[in-house]
Amino acid sequence: MGTAVAAYVVVWLFVTGFVGWLGIRQNQLDSRLAELESRFAAATRKRTAIAGAA
């Protein structure tokens, strides 16, 4: 029974590892997206201010 359980534990570890890796990638993408959003928001504010001043 030990070997069979070991096989399923290995499968569980690999699958969990893959899901964890997906989660880390998603986190990285979310922070890249947040960074882009703040850059675009800053650029829009600047453009509005320039248009207002003109």
Partner: protein, 226 residues
């Protein structure tokens, strides 16, 4: 009224719960419902996961090559995202096939590895997946990467019939298609279905993530332009 992001998160939770529930049910069926095989004992229970992931590993390369083909015809990166996601999950399944097979062989054949035709062609399949992912990681341009990936997957898919037919065409020690009790067969198909559902969900999630990554990279490039 709920926004689109909340609806998507809700749908994702429902699908994840369904796939997780199926996987749990499969594990219960494997360990508590399937009868113990007389000659091999409990170690035979490895078969249920080994065969399931092996089928998915083969299916993954076929899917990767098919979507690669569509990319070559349409030049739309969305198909390359499908191809890459299928190859990544296929690599995972191929790795699990080798690891679980090796654990089974250590008990059944008293060795971790032997150059049996089925084992050798399965190892070649793993090498093809690894090569595919390695080559892709070294190409910067998305369309060049997609082209190279499609070609590797299409050439690599030629190994699939060899893996399937290896036990029939060549002499070896790997079991061909062992006789099974109806309950064992039922548990095998149920676990294959459960694994397929779970990996199918991961495939969709990874494909979506790749699409998002490609859009963010394009936006970053646009933002970097003076």
């Amino acid at each position: 009224m709920p926004n689109a992001r909340a609806v998507h998160a809700g749908q994702k939770t429902i699908w994840a719960s369904l796939a997780g529930g199926l996987m749990s049910a499969a594990f219960v069926a494997i360990f508590f419902l399937a009868p113990t095989e007389q000659s091999m004992g409990a170690v035979q229970r490895i078969l249920y996961v080994h065969v399931s992931v092996a089928w998915l590993a083969l299916l993954g390369l076929v899917a990767s090559a098919a979507t690669g083909c569509v990319y070559l015809l349409r030049r739309d990166l969305i198909w390359d995202h499908w191809s890459q996601a299928a190859a990544e999950l296929g690599w995972l399944c191929a790795t699990l096939t080798l690891v679980t097979g090796s654990l089974w062989a250590s008990e059944a054949w008293n060795t971790w590895w032997t150059w049996d035709p089925r084992l050798t062609t399965a190892f070649v399949l793993w090498l093809i997946y690894s090569g595919y992912l390695l080559i892709r990681s070294n190409v910067e341009d998305p369309h060049a990467r997609a082209r190279v990936g499609a070609v590797v997957a299409i050439v690599g898919v030629l190994d699939v019939p060899l893996v399937v037919m290896a036990t029939r065409w060549f002499r070896g020690i790997h079991p061909v298609a062992p006789e099974m009790e109806p309950m064992m067969r039922g548990v095998l198909f149920f676990s294959a279905f459960s694994f397929a559902s779970f990996f199918g969900l991961l495939l969709f999630l990874r494909r979506k993530q790749l699409r998002q990554e490609s859009l963010i990279t394009a936006l970053e490039r646009a933002a970097a332009r003076p």
